[in-house]
């Protein structure tokens, strides 16, 4: 539909998360799309409710109360659409969903370091857990591979392999194992299959698997040639397959599908769509990094010159999967982020208890501190995992550093509902440990995926909403890499405001310094590193850079990269308190 025909329509965007359901209204105000308001309610995908519709309606009811208008019919509690003469209702609805059990996935490829890796990356672009991998190096017999698939009862099989016009016999053997495994499973439990391998085998795939898979989708090859990886078309097919799976698993998705005329996407996919779009729109020369710490998963989305890396990690989600976090990290690695003096056992019990009640929230200061420490480690792990799949052009100078970024955009309950913006920023700096100079934005209302799904309805909406200041600017961060002792001076900084006044800072290694610069204001920042420190301009290089303001102004993080925390717990806690105090306590 041409944008001109829909540019005045109000859009209700619904996000059904594992813990929280949000209803957000976008409407035209003074000729531009704006984020108007958001209502939320606990999600109801899980028992005892087992129908997302209840949470959706409660979120819309809360939105109605904020807006003072009617969106749900008073008698049937159904959505009023389109907008009525009395102002009730909305014109269109879009939705994203991240609620639902983790998608058990089998990935199949030919070469373990080529097509299997592409299939793995494809699987990681959604809420999946890889339960089995099959490739040519697999020493098991076909019947053993088949039995393994039957035993694991996957929800999804992702098949890749063979360049277009390349290998076919080896793929057919793999197809046989998958096809027989599907055949052996009860009809209602057969996995959905996405084939994204040698495109010339599409007919064979249809013949071999079409009658046995729960649903078969054939996509473009993720490896059209050995040197080329193109996940985008298959990611879209995968997103649509995941929504079909959710329809099978969760009540209420059908109704959402009707309301939205099919405009429902997995949240992570919709977020990825926006990051790719922003990366192109702002002609980012380095990269945009978007992180989201959610109950269902922690996701890391990076756009480097329009090339998207999307990693969705349910194992690092801070909801029901928390009990499994210790399979990926040591308890001490979480303890290191705590300002509290508690025992490792207390922390362990917290993880297990919280996983029983993923929708619950910290009620005390101590619980909040524990929750933030866990989120730090979950995000730390997710970012390091995603970094391995960043494109070659985005590889950092040193393996233990992050690549330089143009922007960080963060969201998720732990960050957006944090106790203060300073604490949210500190969590991001600790976990991501960015290098260089970049603004950091907070998506406090988790709008990004909703803008992503709304973009398929209206191209102008995302741009206009973002330009209207929908995200909170936390500040511009300057990270300093230096080889120095704690307390050594490593940088002189001078901030020159637009009115000519100045603020200065003598930055010592191990510290955090803030130079005030309110949101919406620009200034010039003069950096003069000492001891060959690198403040984003190169080792020992001085210079002047334009910076934009934010809630915390300009934040100079001279704590070093990678961040080295003292081994002594008393000293470490003391230091963390000092950093916490520096960003406002």
């Amino acid at each position: 539909m041409p944008a001109s025909l829909v540019q005045n329509e109000s859009i209700l965007a619904i996000d059904v998360g594992a813990a929280v359901t949000r209803a957000v209204l976008f409407d035209v105000v003074e000729g531009q799309y704006r984020f108007v308001a958001s209502g939320q309610a606990p999600s109801t995908a899980e028992a005892p409710f087992k129908n997302i519709g209840m949470g959706v309606r409660e979120a819309i009811t809360n939105l109605q109360n904020i807006l003072g208008t009617t969106l749900l019919g008073p008698h049937d509690n159904n959505l009023i659409a389109p907008t009525q003469a009395d102002g009730s209702g909305v014109d269109a609805v879009v939705a994203t969903v991240s609620a639902g059990p983790v998608v058990k996935t089998v990935v199949v490829g030919l070469l373990s370091d080529v097509s299997l890796q592409s299939a793995r990356r494809l699987a990681e672009s959604t809420y999946s857990r890889i339960v089995e991998k099959l490739d040519l190096s697999d020493q098991r017999k076909p019947d053993q591979q088949m039995d393994s698939i039957v035993r694991l009862r996957p929800d999804l099989v992702l098949l890749a392999g063979g360049t277009d016009g390349g290998a076919s016999r080896s793929i057919q053997k793999m197809l046989e194992a998958v096809g027989l495994a599907c055949y052996l499973m009860p009809l209602e439990k057969r996995p959905m299959v996405l084939y994204a391998g040698n495109h010339e085998l599409a007919d064979d795939v249809q013949e071999l698997l079409g009658g046995h898979a729960g649903k078969l989708q054939i996509s473009y090859n993720v490896r059209p040639s050995l040197e080329t990886e193109d996940l985008a078309p298959a990611s879209y097919e995968l997103a649509s397959l995941v929504m079909k799976l959710r329809q099978r698993q969760i009540k209420g998705i059908d109704e959402l599908n009707l309301w939205t005329a099919g405009n429902v996407l997995p949240t992570a996919y919709a977020r990825g769509r926006m990051i790719r779009f922003l990366s192109k729109l702002y002609e980012s020369t380095r990269g945009l990094l978007c992180v989201n710490v959610g109950a269902s998963a922690t996701s890391v989305t990076a756009g480097f010159a329009g090339e998207l890396t999307l990693g969705v990690y349910p194992q690092f989600g801070v909801g029901e999967n928390l009990a499994g976090l210790l399979q990926y990290t040591e308890i001490d690695d979480i303890m290191r982020w705590l300002q509290l003096d508690i025992s490792p056992n207390s922390l362990r019990e917290y993880l297990f208890q919280k996983s029983l009640y993923p929708t619950s929230i910290p009620a005390t200061k101590d619980e909040q501190a524990i929750s933030q420490a866990i989120a730090r480690q979950a995000l730390y792990l997710a970012v390091r995992t995603a970094k391995k799949d960043f494109p070659a052009s985005a590889q950092p100078a040193r393996a233990d550093l992050m690549p330089a970024l143009d922007l960080i955009l963060a969201g998720g309950g732990v960050l957006s509902e944090g106790t203060s913006l300073g604490q949210s920023l500190l969590l991001l700096l600790d976990a991501i440990q960015p290098v260089g100079i970049m603004p950091v934005l907070l998506d406090q209302n988790n709008l990004l995926p909703l803008l992503g799904v709304a973009s398929s309805r209206n191209h102008y909406l995302p741009v206009q909403v973002i330009e209207s200041g929908a995200f909170i600017g936390l500040g511009t961060v300057v990270s300093v890499i230096a080889s120095a002792n704690y307390g050594d001076q490593v940088l002189r900084a001078k901030l020159t405001y637009s009115d000519g006044t100045e603020a200065r800072a003598e930055v010592k290694f191990g510290g955090l310094e803030l130079l005030p610069l309110p949101s919406g204001q620009n200034a010039r920042l003069t950096l003069q590193p000492l001891r060959r420190a690198d403040a984003g301009l190169g080792p020992g290089k001085s210079g002047v850079v334009p910076v934009t303001g934010g809630a915390l102004g300009v934040v100079i993080d001279a704590r070093g990269r990678p961040l080295a925390l003292p081994g002594d717990p008393v000293r470490r806690r003391e230091l963390m308190k000092r950093w916490s105090y520096a960003v406002g306590g």
């Binding site: 087992k50 076909p142 027989l180 297990f352």
Partner: protein
């Protein structure tokens, strides 16, 4: 706001679906009275499969191979039975490596299922079968006390319950378990060492109902062959007073411990059922309600995890919590008289 309900009920009608994981044969019939350990359905399934690639072994096309296959779909074959034989002066043969059943014969291949395993589905609770779900299982209805928990080790059993708990924060230790408890379902408090689980297994007991478990013991818990049901969670959490009162007053009664895994999507959760005779059938409990003043609630999170209280005020809009977060919340009067502000998402209604 909608509120999940934790069932701690002295008398309710309990309806439970019991299903096989795979298709099988249902042996129970409608109106049949069943005991917890009665088998109501059974299924057999193949542990493994064997794929015999006839075409590849004989080096012929799939079509040619199909003509050499001597078995057909559904055939039961013994180990060493002839599956396919080539032609010529020196014919070669393919024989069944193990006894099994032919699932598919065609396309130049033979797929056999081998290593039959049987699953017996037990009733899990005493009651009357009200519905048979063909090839899958039954619906059973009973009346009695119902107490739900938060974690189970996946096992199920029944027996006479013996209480070893005097107050909600008691710790159950191995030295409390003696031979007189053999065959009993033990009601205990917090378990903090693997020895307690091991000694209970050695007696053996028919089940363990406890308030809380240290999380490092979860792995040991799964290894135990008797059901372990945790009522309140992980760590040193006292038993919630509602469950404590109900269970201790039913000491020496026959109970069923269904320590199935908590499945947050299906709603299946571990539970204790104490069957009771009734003259008129009590109501079926609601799975969820709307939060309201006067409701009895249980705290799901610190600082008062597991404690029972009553909602005295439901605040409008969002309330500021000591954590710094803002959320819909209620004032709850605890049983010790203390009033606390609790976010609604940290509460569940007891009833």
């Amino acid at each position: 706001m909608l509120a999940p309900v934790l069932h701690v009920l002295p008398l309710a009608t309990i309806v439970r679906e019991r299903l096989l994981p795979v298709s099988g044969k249902v042996s129970a019939h409608v109106n049949q009275r069943v005991n917890p350990t009665d088998v109501v359905a059974e299924a057999s399934f193949a542990r493994e499969h064997v794929l015999l690639d006839v075409a590849r072994t004989f080096g012929v096309s799939a079509n040619a191979a199909d003509k050499l296959i001597k078995v057909k779909e559904g055939d039961r074959v013994m180990q060493g039975a002839l599956v396919a034989e080539s032609r010529g002066i020196f014919p070669r043969s393919i024989r069944a490596p193990r006894a099994g059943r032919v699932m598919v014969a065609g396309g130049g291949q033979v797929l056999m299922e081998v290593g039959d395993a049987r699953i017996e589905l037990r009733a899990g609770l005493p009651g009357v079968v009200t519905q048979v779900i063909p090839e899958r299982g039954v619906v059973i209805r009973t009346a009695g006390a119902l107490i739900q928990g938060v974690w189970g080790n996946g096992r199920i059993d029944n027996g006479l319950m013996t209480s070893l708990i005097e107050k909600p924060d008691d710790v159950l230790t191995a030295d409390r378990l003696d031979v007189s408890l053999r065959g009993s379902v033990i009601l205990g408090g917090h378990v903090r060492d693997a020895d307690t689980l091991r000694v209970a297994a050695e007696l053996p007991v028919r089940g363990l109902i406890i308030s809380s478990l240290l999380s490092p013991l979860i792995a040991s818990g799964y290894q135990m062959r008797y059901p372990i049901l945790v009522l309140d969670g992980f760590g040193a959490i006292p038993m919630n007073s509602a469950a404590f009162r109900l269970l201790t007053t039913n000491n020496k009664r026959e109970v069923t411990v269904n320590a199935e895994h908590f499945d947050r999507y299906s709603g299946n959760r571990p539970e204790v059922i104490i069957p009771l005779p009734v003259s008129t059938e009590p109501a079926e409990p609601n799975a969820y309600v709307t939060f309201a003043v006067g409701q009895m609630v249980r705290m799901r999170r610190p600082p008062n995890t597991g404690m029972i209280g009553t909602i005295s005020t439901l605040h409008r809009g969002l309330s500021s919590l000591p954590s710094g977060l803002r959320a819909p919340a209620a004032d709850v009067r605890l049983e010790n008289g203390e009033a606390v502000l609790v976010p609604l998402v940290n509460l569940e209604v007891v009833g």
